[in-house]
């Protein structure tokens, strides 16, 4: 009784309802929710302050001519989109560079990750050490330090040219040649295969050994076992990795920003990099915001495409009754 009285006093609005048991339970839930929300408040506050509100603001700015130095944006409607699609040759160069990168770097990284994962999918001694070693590049992954190191390695006086010179090959300006520059970034991306590799590895561990044994008894060779057992059973994991890597592929920024700066001939001018240059070098924040929203739509479209296609190539054991 004292408890109920106290609660009623603390929450006067509930005084009438408090006597009914159902209501009491609901009030208890509400208290639990309050505690829950309080505990996630740090994340919530940061989410609103640094993600949601800036996103809404950028949606508005995408329809303005906002330049970062002066405070007043003017509404220009779809003018930014018009400029982007019809008047800006560099925009299409950045789209081309980004697609080139995504189409090549993402499959290569996945293939590489899968290959290494299969090598590591044994129970020999010391394999966990190798796992850690192969994962290491991804830990330092998108960092500026690695990008700077990359610049040195592929520089004209860098490691690669020093090695090729030993074999009498003339040095190549890897970062300055329009044909090779983007490949230095693709190699960098492939080298950072660690996180998809770990996910593949867990996927591989879940494929029952009996299947391989049964197939081997039936006379299936290694290729058969890979294409008819490993790949189908791994397809949900491949699907997950493909989606994640495609999304991050479209947003690639740091590597190009540090290693090549978009040069030469805009062959490494990735979309995010160009967006950044427009916003922060040219102060055209409205235009940059419009570019960002177009990118969002494009990424969403391709993610949806991968999802749609998944019904043709992703097999879930439960559904297929394997």
């Amino acid at each position: 009784m004292t408890v109920r009285a106290k609660l009623a006093a603390a929450t006067p609005g509930l005084r009438g309802a408090i006597s009914r048991p159902g209501e009491r339970r609901r009030a208890a839930y509400r208290r639990h929710n309050l505690a829950g929300y309080t505990f996630i408040a740090p994340w919530l506050i940061c989410f609103f302050a640094f993600t949601l509100i800036p996103m809404v603001a950028s949606l508005y700015l995408a329809f303005t001519d906002y330049d970062i130095l002066s405070a007043t944006p003017h509404w220009v409607g779809l003018r930014n989109l018009q400029r982007m699609f019809f008047e800006d040759p560099r925009y299409w160069r950045s789209v081309r560079a980004t697609f080139y990168y995504v189409m090549i770097a993402v499959p290569m990284r996945l293939a590489f990750a899968l290959g290494v994962a299969m090598l590591l999918n044994t129970y020999r001694r010391g394999v966990s050490v190798y796992r850690a070693i192969y994962y290491a590049p991804s830990v330092v992954g998108g960092s500026v330090a690695v990008a700077v190191m990359w610049r040195q390695i592929f520089g004209t006086d860098g490691l690669i040219n020093a090695v090729t010179r030993l074999f009498g090959i003339a040095p190549v300006t890897w970062l300055g040649n329009p044909r090779t520059a983007i490949w230095t970034l693709i190699v960098l991306a492939v080298w950072q295969f660690g996180s998809p590799m770990l996910i593949f590895l867990t996927g591989l561990r879940q494929i029952p050994q009996e299947m391989y044994e049964a197939a081997a008894i039936d006379g299936a060779d290694a290729a058969d076992r890979f294409f008819r057992i490993t790949l189908p059973l791994l397809s949900p994991v491949i699907f997950f990795n493909l989606v994640m890597q495609t999304i991050s592929g479209f947003m690639v920024f740091t590597q190009a920003f540090v290693v090549t700066g978009g040069a030469p001939l805009d062959t490494t001018l990735f979309y995010s990099l160009y967006l950044y240059q427009r916003g922060f070098d040219n102060f055209q924040m409205g235009y940059a915001s419009a570019m960002a929203w177009v990118l969002l739509v494009v990424v969403a479209f391709f993610t949806a495409l991968v999802f749609k296609s998944s019904s043709y190539w992703v097999f879930y054991e439960a559904k297929e009754g394997a």
Partner: protein, 465 residues
């Protein structure tokens, strides 16, 4: 029931403290209450009579932020001067940031957008117009009038570069002009005569080719695709690249620029100049210490005259450099002008403009400070400082003083500040749509010049009223 509420209270406290520490920008320290005793600090006032802070002001703790771009040499010198200033003004604390040129304006624009500009800002002639038109810089006329910034030893012409719309918004840190730096030893080794001050682009090409043939090094370093070179071609012909009201390209004949691009291609093909590919891969955006002339990989280089100090320091005092003006167009006049190398400005949002002005004064007039700076930012504007420095100049500073004095005899008047859109033209048209495609053979020089005209005019057309 009370007991049950504890987790919530605890949660709220935890959450708030986490949120505050995670999200909030580092709080600016609240100014401490002014101490009542105002007699303690006469030393600083005596040490620096030109600034003469009253005792009361000397007591009030003030924090200033300052930002500049530059080379390692400049960072070291500037930090020393800041420390010296703080020693003489114990109540003023200056925190500093410095970055390379390539990132500087990005950083500054972001800070401007967040209304967090540092109190004292290093400014450039290419940007003061843009910053002043957006009311981001504090007019300094009052501080000059009241003598906080002492300009008694400065000629008006040396201040005028910092005037926008009739108001003084920036104090010139040194006079400067573009130059060709020659590696004298390489010239002698190759048996190539040193060029005369009125040499032409054809002379330049010949020298670069000869040196490359004889020594196998690059005749000339990178940077000839630079927008300033584009400007200098027309300046030498007595024209300017933009028209008077900044609404279109100012010249009618593309031929000089086409010829320049053709010359670049000839030099690149012969291997007599750092190729564009090498430039973007290894040199672009790096500070001057990284330029090939420093390591003896090139015999000539294109710089602003003040940069010789950092270049010479990085290359070593035993090297033999000579500075000559920019090559002229055939039959043209001087392609040089005297430019304020850079400025100090005060942000309009500064809470302590007076102390910031005191620092600028110190930087401009203190002999002690300039003995540390050693004209690294260009020839000092104060005649008193110049006189005091002269006997102490090293090789590089003496060369710079002589060069600027010599060049100012023939130099053209300073061209008007670049119109809005200039930055857009340089970064989105000149390099990516003209220089690169021409250098990599996608466009002919004539097509490149035509693209530049068309796209630049489209951008400048927005300036029409």
């Amino acid at each position: 029931m009370n007991r049950n509420r504890w987790p919530i209270v605890l949660g709220v406290v935890l959450a708030l403290s986490l949120a505050l520490s995670a999200c909030a920008p580092a709080a600016t320290p609240t100014p401490q209450p002014k101490p009542a005793t105002a007699a303690a600090q006469p030393t600083s006032a005596q040490a620096q009579p030109t600034t003469a802070p009253t005792a009361a002001q000397a007591q009030q703790p003030v924090e200033l932020r300052i930002v500049w771009w530059g080379s390692q040499d400049r960072h070291d010198r500037t930090i020393k001067v800041i420390n010296l200033f703080m020693q003489q003004h114990p109540n003023i604390k200056i925190t500093y940031e410095f970055v390379a040129w390539a990132d500087y304006w990005t950083k500054l624009a972001t800070q401007a957008a967040g209304e967090g500009l540092p109190d004292i800002i290093q400014q450039d002639y290419a940007y003061i117009g843009e910053y002043t038109n957006r009311n981001l810089l504090l007019p300094l006329d009052d501080y000059v009038k009241s003598g906080v910034i002492n300009t008694a030893d400065v000629t008006p012409a040396e201040l005028d570069g910092g005037r926008v719309n009739g108001k003084l918004v920036a104090i010139n840190l040194g006079s400067n002009s573009q130059c060709w730096v020659l590696d004298v030893d390489a010239f002698q080794k190759a048996g190539v005569p040193l060029p005369a001050p009125d040499w032409t682009w054809a002379d330049m090409e010949k020298a670069a080719m000869q040196i490359h043939d004889k020594l196998g090094i690059w005749g000339m370093g990178p940077g000839l695709w630079d927008e300033q070179i584009w400007a200098s071609l027309y300046l030498s012909l007595g024209q300017w690249r933009y028209n008077a009201d900044g609404t279109a390209i100012g010249y009618t004949d593309d031929t000089p620029y086409v010829q320049h691009l053709e010359r670049m291609l000839r030099l690149e093909k012969a291997g007599a100049i750092v190729p564009r590919a090498e430039d973007v891969a290894n040199y672009y955006g790096k500070s001057v210490e990284a330029q090939p002339i420093v390591e003896g990989k090139a015999a000539m280089a294109y710089f602003w005259s003040n940069q010789i100090v950092a270049v010479w320091k990085a290359a070593g005092e035993n090297r033999n450099f000579k500075m000559v003006p920019l090559p002229r167009m055939e039959g043209g006049k001087s392609a040089n002008y005297i430019k304020p190398s850079q400025f100090w400005s005060i942000a309009a949002t500064s809470k302590h403009p007076k102390e910031a002005a005191m620092f600028i004064d110190f930087f401009t007039n203190s002999v002690e400070a300039n003995e540390i700076l050693m004209a690294e930012r260009g020839v000092p504007i104060s005649s008193k400082v110049r006189e005091a420095l002269k006997p102490k100049l090293g090789k590089s500073q003496a060369a710079m003083f002589d060069y600027v004095a010599e060049v100012s005899k023939t130099a053209q008047p300073i061209p008007p500040a670049d119109p809005p859109g200039h930055n857009d033209i340089v970064k989105n048209v000149l390099y990516p749509q003209v220089a690169d495609p021409v250098a990599f053979g996608q466009l002919t020089p004539a097509q490149g010049a035509a693209v530049l005209r068309k796209e630049a005019n489209a951008i400048l057309a927005k300036n029409k009223k």
